[in-house]
């Protein structure tokens, strides 16, 4: 076996140019398979880490996945808001321990602005029930204070005391800037690896203040209210986008959910984040399976290439096989030699693929976490990745049996005198 392995390596090395192309195609398919699996796992992990300890999320009636996406992940927009009076009524429910109102819609240079109360910093949990911590500064206490997520502060280079201007909506139109009412950085949160890092937090009063002189998404001409004048107005919010709720006792979650669904003054819904997340995975799962099917097809194509290249080379190697036969190698050893060759190529392709994957993660991990909000980690392969790797190598081994079998037949027919 050691002899055969040595021969397989040396023989393959002799034809390294063509074989390295095959190995490269296997590397690419490994890269695809492992890369897609890694992204899938990391996206799921990121999502399920983003909210924890919140028992219910309340919003205007819509799809539960949609509510989860905009309230927690800042993806998409709310179609309707909740009246502040409704929020207060829900807060008085005897089962509710705490609630965090959230008001969305504005942005700052691509990062979403979250209007909320100081309860946010007290009750919001992520990951394994971890609380938010301040890297520097403290929660907002005046109307025009802002608390930045770690990513926002780092990417935009903000320090405590810096001033920033928020934009209405997604900030595409510069006319929509709230330039008249700049905010001051009061605090910067420690990195969490969740959408919190990419949010600018302001108080609900601040949110109300910058929209005092706006109607229907446009600044009203001649009605401008300056930053100093806002304190004369009532800054109690009129509407919020969603409310995160924590219960005194988890057992009451369904009864609270039902009472919110039956809320009389406006149509509301309450979702359990975990259940909504599962629904989301059901939808995303279809896309994931399609991607997996694609990368499996790519792997199959590369294996066909492997078989084609080794089998073609076999014709020119009949002499080599005859020499080995004359020296006492049996047809089974010839078969073994070819299977070893194919498996070695698959293995080296796999190794290159794993390296490519690691390299890409190292190169694009930061970019993806900054721009896509998905932190891709360079870490030891997961169980699934080992299984996929096992599949790649095993199918390489099985595919190699095809040229192996052909070599076996040839060596039986040719004996010592190949008819070339």
């Amino acid at each position: 076996m050691k002899t055969l392995l040595g021969l397989a390596v040396q023989s393959a090395w002799n034809r390294r140019f063509v074989l390295s192309l095959v190995a490269l195609s296997i590397a690419l398919s490994t890269f695809l398979l492992l890369g897609i699996e890694r992204i899938r796992a990391d996206v799921r992990e990121n999502f399920s880490h983003s909210v924890s300890g919140t028992d219910l999320i309340v919003g205007a009636r819509t799809g539960s996945v949609q509510l989860l996406l905009y309230s927690v992940f800042r993806i998409g927009n709310a179609t309707n808001n909740i009246r502040w009076s409704s929020v207060q009524t829900i807060g008085q429910h005897k089962a509710v321990a705490w609630m965090v109102p959230i008001s969305l819609g504005d942005s700052h240079r691509g990062y979403s602005v979250v209007g909320t109360s100081t309860a946010y910093f007290e009750h919001f949990r992520y990951g394994d029930r971890q609380a938010l911590n301040f890297e520097r500064g403290k929660p907002f206490d005046s109307v025009f204070d802002a608390v930045l997520g770690a990513e926002v502060a780092e990417q935009l280079g903000y320090a405590l005391g810096d001033r920033l201007v928020l934009s209405h909506g997604d900030g595409q139109l510069s006319a929509n800037d709230h330039a008249d009412k700049p905010f001051t950085v009061a605090g910067i949160l420690r990195r969490t690896g969740t959408p919190v890092d990419r949010s600018v937090h302001i108080s609900l009063e601040g949110m109300e203040a910058i929209h005092l002189d706006w109607v229907a998404g446009m600044p009203m001409k001649g009605m401008a209210v300056s930053a100093d004048q806002v304190y004369r107005h009532d800054l109690t919010p009129k509407k919020v986008t969603a409310v995160l709720i924590g219960l005194k006792n988890r057992a009451s979650v369904f009864s609270v959910q039902r009472s919110i669904a039956e809320f009389e003054s406006e149509p509301l819904m309450a979702i359990l984040p975990g259940v909504a997340l599962d629904e989301l995975w059901d939808v995303v799962g279809i896309g994931e399976r399609a991607l997996l099917a694609m990368s499996v097809s790519v792997s199959l194509v590369s294996l066909v290439g492997l078989v084609a290249v080794i089998t073609t080379a076999l014709e020119q190697r009949r002499r080599e096989l005859a020499i080995l036969r004359a020296l006492g190698a049996g047809p089974r050893q010839i078969l073994c030699l070819l299977v070893l060759e194919g498996t070695l190529i698959t293995l080296s392709g796999w190794i290159i693929g794993v390296f490519l994957c690691a390299l890409t993660l190292a190169a694009f991990g930061d970019w993806s976490s900054a721009h896509l909000g998905v932190a891709l980690h360079l870490r030891a392969p997961t169980m699934n990745e080992w299984i996929l790797s096992g599949c790649v190598v095993t199918s390489g081994l099985i595919a190699s049996c095809i040229p192996g079998w052909r070599a076996y037949r040839l060596s039986l027919v040719d004996g010592l005198t190949p008819r070339i």
Binding site: T3, N14, L324, A326, G328, L416
Partner: protein, 239 residues
Amino acid sequence: MKTNHSEESLLSIEDLGFRWPQASQETLAISRLQLQQGETAFLYGPSGCGKSTLLSLVGGVLTANRGTVRFLGHDWQQLSSSQRDRLRADHVGFIFQQFNLLPYLSVLDNVLLATRFSERRTLQSGRPQQTAQRLLEQVGIHSTEWGRKASDLSVGQQQRVAAARALIGRPDLVIADEPTSALDEALRESFMNLLLQTCAEAGSALLFVSHDARLASRFHRQIDLTSINEATAINEATP
């Protein structure tokens, strides 16, 4: 594998008949042919008369359709294919017309390859590395060449390396299939000298196939395949 050297001849063919699959007639039909230990035999005949087929039968790569080919007391036909591979690896050395060597191995590794598939030949050669080097020196391949790739050698050098490989571990029989046909006259002379000398030193019998009759006189025996192959006679007799 147990072998019986004393009583039987090294090789003994009786009532041999061989037909290729799908062929209508036998290619070979030999009623009797023997080779003794250490004997050198020159087998000649025109191309296509079945010389290479006979060599494959002698070396146990092919097996007879009828009759027996006994080698070292074993009937090739009675052995399993892995036993045949084993017996061949242990006791037979081959030299072909050309392309004897694996192009991607070094000269030394090509010689040692013969011991890789045979424990017996490893043991027989004592210290394989040194034995291979001694044999290479003996056939005129010097140490500067040992590390070179086989494909970098000239044809004459390659044939001499092949001879060294065929002889390492002192196999009982060396089968040479027109090993000189790719060599010019001067090289052929020196190659023949080397081959016969090293075979004699190793005590190996030599079955040498060629259609070059000038070489015949240097062997103990000359065998004309056309005269002992009855299949050819039958072929000619049939209209």
